[in-house]
Amino acid sequence: MQDLTDAFVELFRRAATDLPPDVENALRQAYEREEPGSPAQSVLGNILENVNLARKQSTPICQDTGTPIFYVYYPAGWSTIKLREQIEEAARRATAKSYLRPNAVDSLTGKNSGDNTGEDFPVIHFVEWENDYLQVDLALKGGGSENCGVQYKLPFNELHAGRDLEGVRRVALDAVEKAQGLGCAPGILGIAIGGDRGTGYEVSKRQFFRNIGQRSETPELADLEERIYEEANMLGIGPMGFGGKTTVLDVQIDRAHRLPASYFVTVSYMCWACRRHRMIVRGDEITYQ
């Protein structure tokens, strides 16, 4: 098995410094929509300038380089033990090169490991698949947005939210309203319907790997995505919570089977700096998307 440590360092660098084009386009469209001279437009102008500068200088888009969340799709025969070792070593090197801020704190002692490794850090999901190549998806998710995530147990009487898609809509809008600008709006909502509490968060965050505007293949969910997206933007929270037309850039929903007794709706919030990158390894050839 080849040593991919350097390739993983490059994946970290790209994720931290180079915002995906679909996210940048959504921000640019938001800039065009807001009133000229408004605080909302000023924020988006600053964001776009920052995105350019970070890419040009190869410096972090945001100083909070977040939790690294990996999805590693591998063909049979790869060692996930070795892949994990290489990813951890790459996290150490990427931190030393200042692509990442030291972000892993021991929850017992409060001590920062200083190199972005620790218990369950980085987060890595391994998935064996039928394809003959390796695909590694990485997202960096900052703390401000992570603190805005919320899980609802339906029925949720306070909002008259029952165990149906109307109930999902109600709690999703509640999550956006509660977050205000604190998740660094305009953000992206990842929503999971069902699952247990753990898979709920996992599925909700997996949505952040979808492109902006990519609708669910399930028509009911696609309609719901569209509706929550439009209504969230009617709340008027706006970029950074300054008021304005753009509160979310997109809403992406998936579902998981649940127990008859449970109906969780899990809403994860991704900040505007939706930093994700993909690496594909075919033999000796490594490409990034």
């Binding site: 408004s38 920052n50 970070a54 945001c62 401000g144 008259h160 205000q180 008027g236 919570g241 300054f242």
Partner: protein, 205 residues
């Protein structure tokens, strides 16, 4: 575009209103959780001044000055001087228990951060003539590029790099007034309006 240059006068502050966009230039000081705690315990809620040298250095910097809630990523140059690599704002509400007293004690004219602050700080802004300026969360590279010079640093070894008092000179840094000296908070307004719209959308009114 409104420009502000430190030190800032009360008159300039009173002319500002929520929603105004300003460009700030001049010397400012970073201070976050540990620095605020230190100022409160050693300079403000005390009869005997701890760290008297630091106190004397901070007084002229903060009179008409600006505090920035920021834990920067800082690199050291070969000649021993420092430069800011990434310097976005941190969440300000954590300083709510302290900020009003800091504003009053030192005559601070502006606080920079993100997310806004609460009623105690808003009241201090009104009483003593100060504003809250909101920086763009996440715009770390852009903000670092507005920092022209790191002029000094206090308590770096004691508090660590993110928590130290960094004295920096900034140029043309674009910020939005979200809490003014007339009792108005954009955060409060947006919260009230969005809550009302939310209730309409889910039929709770």
């Amino acid at each position: 575009m409104i420009t502000l240059q430190t030190p800032i006068s009360e008159e300039e502050i009173r002319a500002l209103h929520t929603g105004d966009i300003v460009r700030l230039s001049g010397t400012i000081v970073t201070a976050r959780d540990a620095a605020h705690k230190l100022m409160i315990e050693n300079f403000i809620r005390t009869d005997t001044i701890g760290y008297p040298e630091l106190y004397e250095k901070l007084k002229p910097l903060l009179k008409g000055g600006v505090i920035y809630h920021c834990g920067p990523v800082v690199a050291q140059n070969e000649d021993g001087s420092y430069r800011f690599v990434a310097a976005g704002p941190t969440t300000s509400i954590r300083e709510e228990p302290y900020e009003a007293e800091v504003i009053e004690h030192f005559g601070v004219r502006a606080i920079i951060g993100k997310g806004g602050m609460g009623p105690k700080t808003l009241a201090a802004c009104e009483a003593f003539g100060a504003v809250y300026l909101h920086a763009v969360g996440g715009a770390a590279s852009l903000i670092a590029s507005a920092v022209e010079e790191v002029q000094d640093v206090f308590m770096k070894d004691e508090l660590g790099v993110p928590e130290a008092f960094w004295v920096i000179r900034v140029k043309d840094w674009e910020l939005v007034v979200t809490m003014d000296s007339h009792g108005s908070s954009l955060h409060q307004q947006v919260k009230e309006q969005s809550e009302a719209r939310f209730k309409e959308l889910v039929g709770l009114v």
